[in-house]
Amino acid sequence: MTHSLDWKKRRKLRVTVKEALQHLLLLAIGVSFMLPFYWLVATSLKPDAQVFQSPPAWLPHPIMWHNYPKALTYVPFARYLLNTLVICTLSVFGMLLSSSLVAYSFSKIRWPGRNIAFFILLSTLMLPGQVTMIPVFSIFKSLHWVDTIRPLVVPSFLGGAFYIFLLRQFFMTVPLELSDAAKIDGCSELDIYRRVVLPLAKPALATIALFTFIGAWNDFLGPLIYLNDDAKYTLSLGLQQFVSRHGAEWSMLMAASTVMTTPIVVLFFFAQKTFIQGITLTGIKG
């Protein structure tokens, strides 16, 4: 009797030790991933003397909250933030509207040439951006759209190939009976799109909204090519300028970087499910 109790106790100990070691490993890796973030914020709050201290100071002292308003006025960050938000919001709106309309056409309407068009859509996914970058710039230049936000926003209103593909897959899961029933009730295609199909695709739409927003927030090449007047700069362009002009002012550079990063982190915590769902959707369906 005593022998079998010992065996059970030993097994439980082994399992607990194994679990503890796993936690240790996971935590050690977690700390390594979080360390740069900590260093980002810590540096942003350090006085200059501490920034250049070696061995490094782990806690800023005194805490220079003042670095933040200083960094945000060195370059007109508030203006850049506004510009970025405008572009992001317009892009999200345009992308949701256009991608869903086009996806509806590819999934719910049967028209001659639809399959060829869809195949062409898919093949554009593999095209490197550089191939069209220069002629597109030339087109926008001849339209006098350079140095405006139009080249950055208008393409969203023309649909994104990947999101059209994603939504099409989603729409195709909506049963035909639903749209047929609506047709019998006298609904037009637009009505079916708006009242039947679209509401059922909310998860996919949320994912598209999230990733379009983040893509526009992060976009660097677009603003770099099309925005000249620095009153129109976005955060990414403004931050890069900060690096090239005030790169050695580390504490302020880290403060500015924190300001650019924090909204995205906050967004993540509010929309975690959509994030995870989006990554797996795009990674697995592909």
Partner: protein, 314 residues
């Protein structure tokens, strides 16, 4: 459709065609103006001298000839990009996979760890570049400080102490520095592999356990084959993405030191928007397209040997 007259079906088809085209109009317009026409235009530009101000001026194969025979930076940038593909891509792939395996252990608090590993990958690229510029500073950056502290410990034990390298200032360490920085973003790929791992049916592992298979055998014969479609997809996407690696180098190094980080996309950008040699840059773009196509086809062809699609009849 059976009970309608021919006139009625034809009217229906016409209505569907009209609606279909109407709904797809945004994409059709975008495709024609921003994809189809530019593709043709850029082929034309690649045979011209074009500075975006005056109209293009035909020069035949001149751009291509100069690129291949006279432009040292062209070959440099190709080599640098190839370096990232050969070393950076596998490192990224393996690290994301390893993280996914770790997260797949049945330990409590998985969502917490998953957040820790994933969060860095959503940092805006420009902000991350600024941060890593600071972390990798050879004199006072955190990475070298930690190496120095570790070195002092080894020194006390009378062991040889490593010194922190010059990272982004040293031509030999600049690309490894970028690969190291890329590791921080492994959380993005990790999520995809994690989802794939969770899709592997339990019965396969149970059957293997009954046969007494070791963990290694289970990994090699069950997990990896079942993950191979996801790995394949990420490999192709990673390949295409590697050729467009741009923002980090533009912000952090500008292509230096001594062109060690001059990647293809940066060289192309410089030619187009710094030197305004748009015809030349267009030629670069088409060479890029051909190389990307060739690499993708290669991966596709070899995929038959190592990618396993469940549900396929052998």
């Amino acid at each position: 459709m059976r009970n309608m007259t021919r006139r009625q079906t034809s009217r229906l088809v016409k209505a569907d065609l009209r609606n279909g085209l109407l709904f797809a109009a945004p994409w059709i317009a975008g495709f024609l103006c921003l994809t189809a026409y530019p593709i043709i235009a850029s082929i034309y530009y690649s045979f011209c001298n074009f500075d975006a101000i005056s109209p293009p001026h035909w020069v035949g194969m001149l751009n291509y000839r100069i690129l291949v025979t006279e432009d040292e930076l062209f070959w440099r940038s190709l080599w640098n990009t190839a370096y990232m593909i050969v070393f950076g891509l596998p490192v990224g792939l393996v690290s994301s996979l390893v993280l996914a395996f770790l997260l797949n252990l049945k330990v409590r608090g998985m969502a917490f760890y998953r957040t820790l590993y994933y969060l860095p990958s959503i940092t805006p690229i420009v902000a991350a570049s600024a941060l890593w510029l600071w972390l990798l500073n050879p004199e006072i950056g955190l990475v070298n400080e930690l190496i120095m502290t570790f070195g002092k410990m080894l020194h006390r034990l009378h062991l040889p102490a490593p010194a922190g390298p010059g990272w982004l200032i040293d031509p030999a360490w600049a690309k490894p520095a970028l690969i190291f920085m890329g590791l921080w973003g492994a959380g993005g790929g990790m999520l995809i592999y994690l989802a794939g791992l969770q899709d592997v049916p339990e019965q396969l592992y149970e059957a293997a356990d009954l046969d007494g298979a070791s963990s290694w055998k289970k990994l090699w014969h069950i997990t990896l084959p079942m993950l191979s479609p996801v790995i394949f997809f990420n490999l192709v996407m990673g390949l295409i993405g590697s050729f467009q690696y741009f923002t980090q180098v533009y912000v952090m190094t500008g292509g230096g030191p001594q062109d060690a980080t001059l990647f293809y996309a940066l060289h192309l950008f410089n030619n187009a928007f710094l030197n305004f040699k748009m015809g030349y840059a267009s030629a670069m773009a088409w060479i890029l397209f051909l190389i990307t196509l060739a690499c993708t086809l290669l991966v596709f062809k070899t995929s038959a040997r190592w990618v396993y699609y469940p549900g396929e009849l052998k």
